[in-house]
Amino acid sequence: MLAVLLVCLLLTMPAGLDAFLDNIASNTRVSVHNKAGLVYAMPYAFTRKVRQIDGVAAAVAMVWFGGAFEEAGRVTFPNFAVEVEHVGAVYPDYGIAPQQLADFQRYRDGAIVGRQTLHKYGWKIGDRVTLRSTVWPVALDFRIVGEIPNDRAPLFWMNREYLDQALKAQARPGLGIAGMIWVRASDPGRVNAIMREVDDLSRNSEAETSSETEKSFFSNFFGSLKGFVTIILIVTALVALCIVFIAANTASMGVRERAGEIAVLKAIGFGQRVIFGTLLAEAMALSAGAGLGGVLLAIGVTHALRAFAGWSPSLGPLGSFIVTAPVIVDGAFLSLFVGMLAGVVPAYGAATKPVVATLHEVF
């Protein structure tokens, strides 16, 4: 049972990554950023050029604010300054209430916050919060005007104008840049053409861009975690192998202890097949039961973990601990398989041993 718990827990990590990539990433959204890296910005005006490309339904420029809330002094959820009038049209799939998007445009200090972050800090719509930027020399007050209704969304969006004016108030040049531009294509078939056009548009400029689909962006973003996952999977496989050995051993102990019973069963006329089948079924039922327990426990543990895990730059979506259906199926199959492997040898041995020999062992 412990084994299945462990394996399920470990499998949740890559599964969380896959689930993240499949569910969150839309097939019509494209990320545009400077070819050299995410910290190399693009001129803000480039957003307008991107919007004019044929087939672009909407585009929004984002700038990393890197705001830290209260005591932590470091970024505990991703927060960006966005163009309030465009962001809703790029993320229609987020299901933000239209009224909240309207409020986001109305209030200069408005913010739209993902439900995960709302829950983590116990914020509600209407609350006021202060974030101190780790990137810009400002600390800004925000009024939460809306939420992204998804329990796993850690995002925090603020008004780009608000940050721009705060910087100008300090006699600094305004924002003038776009860290990333997110584009929504009017139909999935146009995505490749749009990516090509965007990159052509910026060729030989100060800031050459590279465009990619949302899925590719996030899988690259979290790609460095793959080696880590590989190691974890290798060790998991080792542990699973140990468990097969151990379970086989336990099963053979069980059979040995009941050698007498089996001999008596044979003596009163039960066939080899019946005995073999019964023993194997018993081993499998036992391990299936344990597997079920393990899966349930894994679900419980991941819920508990998720409660205080939250967003962290080192774990990314690995920290979201989602026990998906495939993970449960994997766990269940593993336990059945272990039961079968472990049960088959001793069951076969017990079934084929001559009655006399078995009885002899007992008396």
Partner: protein, 392 residues
């Protein structure tokens, strides 16, 4: 009367399959355990060993790391001549102005990762004196050269001595490889600070300053003075504190790995002792016979205990060998295990199974050997010979 050792030896010959299974289960447990411990200690080394207690990090107020800080040339030139800063043999202050940028690097597999590129002046090697070149030489300023950390070598396209790296807007020739006892510097690329500022079109030439204090007592007054200086709005903290804070963000990762390791250790240790238990229990009848022949309980207990420990020892040696081989294999295959740092850059840790990790695995194997063997041997030795024999 002691039981002859040959009894235990012959047992191996009599039950080769079972003995092999017991030993290999222990070996597997040892492999899993030492790999996990190796991962944990490598992670810890990267997180904890970065930074020098004699160094002070100066950043813009409110920044939480190098990557988000900015600092002007004027503030650098002012701070450089503050009191309490160590000086080199030519009486130049040991202050290293640094610029941190996180450009994309192409991995050899075709993916891309953010790598921390640190623009430095040659004085950096004196301030960070645990960083030392192991191959090649230091870069020559303004000549498009770079030196790379050990963890970076081979992971990215062009990251090898003599090759050319492409990142940012330019191309950089790799002229040296450095190490720093496994700290996070080994996941960085160092280039000339001016060339980097130019490449990244940064409005400010630096992101921070690393300062070596003259004596430990100078650190606090220096940090207070920098914090309080109204001209620059800067903050200063000890380099060790700085990296400890950076490590906090990787805590969840650390806790996760330790949690998995503990679960795996409990599961595997429990199972292996179970296996050992079964191995002894299967021989109840033999024990009865030995008792009937007149061997004392103590003798039997000792013999079984010796056997269990020997078996665990064999399992440990097998497992340790496999773990070492596997870690080398993984190192070649993956070239290090990466995780994201707080600066959104990739930290590469080299998986090393060290003596301490094997020691941990040894403790587990010994517990399994002693604990798993003691119970059933004790029970069997306490059985009346006639009952033990009846079980046969």
């Amino acid at each position: 009367m002691a039981l002859p050792l040959s009894y235990s030896v012959r047992n191996v010959a009599a039950r080769p399959a079972r003995t092999l299974m017991t030993a290999s289960v222990i070996a597997l447990v040892v492999v899993a355990c030492s790999l996990f411990l190796g991962l944990i200690s490598s992670l810890k080394r990267t997180l904890v060993s970065s930074g020098d207690p004699r160094n002070v990090v100066v950043m813009r107020k409110g920044s939480d790391n190098d990557g988000s800080s900015q600092l002007s040339l004027e503030s650098y030139q002012a701070i450089r001549f503050f009191d309490g800063i160590a000086r080199d043999t030519e009486d130049q202050p040991l202050t290293s102005p640094e610029l941190v940028v996180q450009p994309f690097f192409r991995t050899r597999e075709g993916g891309r990762e953010n790598v921390l590129v640190r623009g430095v002046e040659p004085v950096a090697l004196a301030v960070h004196d645990d960083v030392h070149l192991v191959e090649g030489r230091m870069f020559t300023p303004s000549s498009g050269e770079a030196i790379v950390g050990r963890g970076v070598v081979g992971r990215y396209a062009g990251a090898a001595l003599g090759d050319t790296l492409e990142f940012g807007r330019g191309r950089w020739k790799v002229v040296g490889v450095f190490e720093s006892h496994g700290s996070s510097f080994e996941s960085e690329v160092w280039v000339d600070v001016r060339a980097l500022a130019n490449d990244a079109r940064r409005p400010f030439p630096y992101s921070g300053i690393r300062v070596r204090v003259a004596t430990p007592a100078d650190a606090d007054p220096l940090m207070r003075r920098i914090d309080a200086d109204p001209r620059f709005a800067l903050q200063a903290e000890r380099e060790t504190d700085y990296y400890a804070k950076q490590a906090e963000s990787a805590n969840s990762l650390y806790v996760l790995v330790v949690g998995i390791a503990v679960l795996a250790g409990i599961g595997a240790g429990f199972g292996a002792s179970n296996n050992m238990y079964a191995a002894v229990q299967a021989r109840t009848a033999e024990i009865g016979t030995l008792r009937a022949l007149g061997f004392s309980r103590a003798a039997i207990l000792t013999a079984f205990q010796v056997e269990a420990v020997a078996l665990a020892g064999v399992g440990f040696v097998l497992g340790a060998g496999c773990a070492l081989a596997l870690s080398v294999f993984l190192r070649l295959l993956l070239g290090g295990v990466a995780f994201g740092a707080a600066t959104f850059t990739t930290n590469v840790i080299t998986l090393r199974v060290g003596a301490a990790d094997l020691g941990g695995a040894f403790v587990l194997a010994a517990l399994v050997g002693v604990g798993g063997g003691l119970g059933p041997a004790w029970r069997a030795a306490r059985l009346r010979p006639i009952e033990a024999l009846r079980k046969a």
